[in-house]
Subunit: 457 residues, 2 copies
């Protein structure tokens, strides 16, 4: 979809930056389903093992597993985690935290900065969203369910803590924790660059800082960068949010490829893949049993924000006049999202769904997708293979059809890491395992009311 949009927008057959780095495919099944979630797949990427959906940095017996990031740190490398989601979300979490349920993000936040973690603080660069899990309950916007001030605990452990654009652009001392939003960072198309850095900017800052910090060392660095919100736009069936986060991912990949080419001495390898497919997006639409062999990317030219942004805008609009509301819906919601010709039915539905951002958001997204002739199979994940990309030293050794667990084994081999002693060290700390990794008596109540589909991001 993104490539076809670029073809249309540039009136030429241009490649996506990632096309030049395509080397294989990855199968993503977990230990308990052919259709995985991010926790099981990120654990496959971090520990190299199959585990159940929802599991963070553990095996199927709920015993912690050593990750490539932890092993890298233990063997003298510097380390980093960058994501556009909450930094406590499943993918970044699986590289350093160990817990039986991905939704325990208050617990994950502490492990990420080393609190209660048997190895202490193991991440030198942390950037992303999700400040809300680091501030005590009853402070503005907090998501925690206790009085712990995790930002203060991070400072005590030596972290420079920041969250503003100005500090981001400074030379921040390692280790650092940069959290730019309370919840996930914005979709790239909705992002205010004065407030939030882009994925590309965060990735390059992280890489450059880790490179400088290891220049005199025999060991280099390991960094995990996630374009997290491609998945979220997939769940929302929001083609516009999806497209622009994919384009930003491409810019980040291109920048990292260029960085590697300019730093031959760094002996760096870049490996990129998805943890799983989301949304089951295909191009071409079928209406009433008649398949249409057509995709219409030109509609993207008129679409200027995510469906979530316009759903919130619409919910916040207040008027008792139906005629005013209809005009607002057409001019300020449908038109800027790319729907120039709403039908009577779409107006009626739009007015009826105003109070629910999730229902109106998906209605809006699907109405637009129909015009693009983009089909979504689901608001969840699918079990199809994902594409594998590589660049730099030895990347060709990973080419071909792979199981997701092989990604971790490749990383370990390239860095000369041994995960086994890390696993043993984590498991030897029984207080850690029993109190932080395994299920606690109060957890049922703690997790109650969490959105079930959220559980499966």
């Amino acid at each position: 979809m993104a490539r076809d949009w670029m073809h249309w927008n540039n009136n030429a057959t241009v490649d996506l930056p990632i096309d030049r780095m395509m080397i294989g495919q990855v199968r993503t099944r977990s230990s308990d389903s052919y259709v995985p979630d991010s926790a099981s797949t990120a654990t496959a990427y971090s520990c190299g093992i199959k585990v159940y959906n929802g599991a963070i940095g553990i095996d199927d017996d709920v015993e912690p597993c050593g990750t490539v990031l932890e092993a890298a740190k233990a063997q003298g490398y510097k380390t980093g985690l960058v994501a556009t989601s909450r930094i406590t979300h499943a993918t970044p979490a699986s590289y350093v935290a160990h817990v039986y349920d991905r939704d325990l993000e208050s617990n994950i936040a502490l492990q990420e900065i080393g609190v209660g973690h048997p190895l202490g603080s193991v991440v030198d660069v942390i950037m992303g969203g999700g400040r809300c899990f680091f501030t005590p309950q009853n402070t503005t916007g907090s998501c925690r369910d206790d009085d712990i001030d995790a930002l203060e605990l991070a400072r005590q452990r030596g972290y420079t803590v920041f969250g503003d654009r100005a500090t981001f652009e400074e030379d921040v001392k390692l280790p650092y924790l940069g959290l730019f939003t309370q919840d996930h960072m914005s979709y790239d198309i909705d992002r205010d660059p004065a407030v939030e850095p882009s994925l590309t900017e965060m990735a390059l800052k992280g890489i450059n800082d880790l490179y400088k910090a290891t220049k005199k060392s025999k060991k280099g660095f390991f960094i995990m960068v996630e374009a997290s919100r491609i998945d979220h736009a997939g769940h929302a069936n929001d083609a516009t949010g999806h497209l622009h986060d994919i384009l930003e991912y491409n810019r980040a990949m291109d920048a990292m490829r260029e960085w590697i080419d300019e730093h031959d001495d760094s002996e760096t390898v870049l490996i990129s893949t998805a943890d799983h497919e989301c949304g089951g997006l295909t191009l071409g639409y079928e209406l009433d049993g008649a398949p249409d062999y057509w995709f219409a990317p030109e509609h993207f030219a008129s679409s200027h924000g995510s469906s979530g942004k316009y759903a919130t805008l619409w919910k916040n609009y207040k008027s008792n006049d139906t005629s005013d509301a209809t005009q607002y819906l057409k001019k300020s919601i449908y038109a800027p999202y790319g729907i120039m010709d709403p039908s009577e039915e779409e107006i009626t539905q739009g007015l009826a769904l105003q109070s629910s951002t999730s229902n109106f958001g998906r209605f809006l997204a699907l109405a637009f997708s129909k015009r693009l002739k983009v089909h979504w199979a689901t608001g969840g994940h699918t079990g199809v293979d994902v594409t594998l990309y590589g660049h730099g030293l030895n990347h060709e050794k990973l080419a071909g059809q792979r199981d997701n667990t092989e990604i971790a084994h490749f990383a370990a081999e390239q860095l000369g890491l041994d995960l086994e002693p890390i696993t043993e060290k984590l498991r030897a700390d029984r207080e850690f395992v029993e109190k932080l990794v395994k299920k606690q008596p109060g957890d049922a109540a703690r997790l109650k009311g969490r959105d079930l589909t959220h559980h499966h991001h």
Copy 2:
């Protein structure tokens, strides 16, 4: 889907044979749509150019283009075409015929055996289905709209013509034309091995015969083998037909890989890909807005034929007794297709749709897919990338993300072919171009009533 079925069926994480040959991805767009048909994509694979959907071996100006098969023949190689579709269908047709509309299969049949073709007979091995386009109108089962006996014309040009299993197993003299069915050959799961050879058997026979015929020559052979009906099962949204034709494709690929490994001296390269995706199949289902992270391949164990087979069986059942009909529907249609627990609604619908094989066939297929938790986006094609496989000499040079036109360029380079003189020779024959390639006055009537979705296979 096929890999997960093998995992389930073998209670182990086995690879598909093709997994070991995975080397890249191919984008499939045509000159007039981001969602292609087989004619445009097969022409990309045969001539190395982009053309409109429906075009066979021509460019966008409806001028013929030289194909890799024609160039190979002209330069002293032996050639072959094997397909499980009618041999006049778009993919095999595009390697040797040249015509503005893929539905002109009477014309294509003649060009395939060299009648009216400026280069004469260029295919040494032809095997597949579609005898109906080779027999005169008014003979049993004929699809022709004239009195031409194309089988007799083939014999006059030196072809050994056959269509039975016994002759297939003999040492047939080249060139030969083996047509085993009037229409497409059967889906592999419905196939009677006493009547129809498998794709694997045809591929191996073709390769061995071409190898023997060129053993003393400095030139070798070029063969195009298509597992044609994977696509047809996709159009029908028939997971069972799809699965078993994919498994047979895997067996054929494995046999060809093994053949290459056992014939080092042959300097053979195997390249395999799809012309396009069909059906938009994804694993995991969403019902009433609730995504289910689950795929249930175990249902395949109880599914014993294609949806088309059971739809025909059901249409042919006669009874005036609703109770008898209901029993027959449950026991002889639903159960052997894998639906053990039809709902009241499914029984009612099944009874109501009996007279239409296409409507009942798709209803049956979708009811089963829902149990498998397999989602189909469409009964047509989609514009997503397809996977590229390779084995043997120099296959690694084609690895990575490719445009479909590059497949032809690679084949030409490997065989040392020059397509340009072939294109010139074809175009120099103006009678051929004006009478057989371009649109004729009678064609509108000739094509009238052809099924439009058929046009887009």
